[in-house]
Symmetry: C2
Subunit: 177 residues, 2 copies
DNA sequence: GGCATACTGGAATAGTTGTTCCAAATTTAC
DNA sequence: GTAAATTTGGAACAACTATTCCAGTATGCC
């Protein structure tokens, strides 16, 4: 649900959701069980679809550098075209729900490990093929790019200047060598 | 107020603040005016003290690389020792209040510009002294490091592994050359 | 046509919310 | 000791909150 993504869990009321979805509150409770369960489902869906998209991007682009470039450019484009600046649902949920929900924190840790694995594996592929010439390990490079990606999703909420964001991306990707 | 920092604006009630501060609710309203005004004051205080600390760090450390190393190491140490994982008040507020508050978004933009200026100026100092040998501009490098810093404050809420965080920092700082 | 299922708008529950008011108590200044 | 200022705990206000209940309506199936 875009409302949870845009406003977060606490600032979104069930009444907001009812108005936004256009269905009855009793049906909502029958179908989903409650506010927290509804949020969990929306969040799980987001994680699943964004993870699948990332996997597909990394598998579809043989050039690792191009792949990362595409990833970051997509993040910039999303930021630019997102009028309401909702950013990344995962990043938003990380800052809102940690601390406060051990269950959510655990869920985020599992998701983070999964995405990091994708990043590190993709960098390893570039090192193996010789496309990446850095002397650093795949883990170091992959984790750095993952962290930078998170950072971009935060700063682009405040300042959507594509030129500046592209500068950051170019500088960041330069560590690949 | 640490409660706003830890739980955010929406998840913190006036009742929470009254219990936490141990003063009467009427006094709170007399002194601060209201929940939003109270949040604004706490946030302004945080921005002021963290900005001053950063300025002091950059002015006190002649070696720019050492300065950045110290900055990131402090962020890691804060993450490690912060049991309740409240992260960075500015990053938390960015993700919670944007969108939703134009006033807050403006305030964040101003603050971001100030901190970026500190980062870029410090990198410029390193380039001028020859300590930094990268062919990239101070702006590119400074903005990258600033964005990475934001990213670290997010990911360290989920996973406080100092070794991994240090890897990220080392990889990130390697762009300075 | 009858029955089961699902959805509806309204009402209700119990509690919380931000904020204001008030008489009483405490503190401060002289 | 006294007056003024400040703070206090309780109460109140109006609205909102998550959640449940209900009679009526619509839909699908046999």
């Amino acid at each position: 649900m875009e409302l949870f993504w845009e406003k977060g869990f606490h600032a979104t009321s069930m009444q907001d959701l009812v108005s936004h979805l256009g269905i009855n509150r009793a049906s909502l409770y029958d179908t989903y069980g409650g506010k927290e369960a509804l949020f969990d489902k929306a969040f799980a869906y987001y994680k699943k679809t964004s993870g699948a998209w990332l996997e597909e991007l990394f598998q579809g682009e043989a050039s690792v550098k191009q792949g990362f470039q595409k990833l970051f450019e997509t993040a910039i484009q999303e930021a630019v075209s997102d009028n309401c600046r909702k950013g990344c649902f995962v990043v938003n949920t990380t800052t809102e729900m940690v601390p406060g929900s051990d269950k959510m924190q655990h869920s985020l840790m599992v998701h983070k490990a999964q995405i990091e694995k994708l990043f590190v594996g993709y960098v390893q592929k570039g090192l193996n093929s010789g496309e990446i010439t850095s002397s650093k390990s795949a883990e170091e490079l992959g984790l750095m790019l993952y962290t930078l990606y998170n950072g971009i999703r935060v700063v682009s909420k405040v300042d959507v200047n594509p030129k500046k964001l592209q500068m950051v991306v170019d500088a960041g990707l330069s560590i690949l060598g």
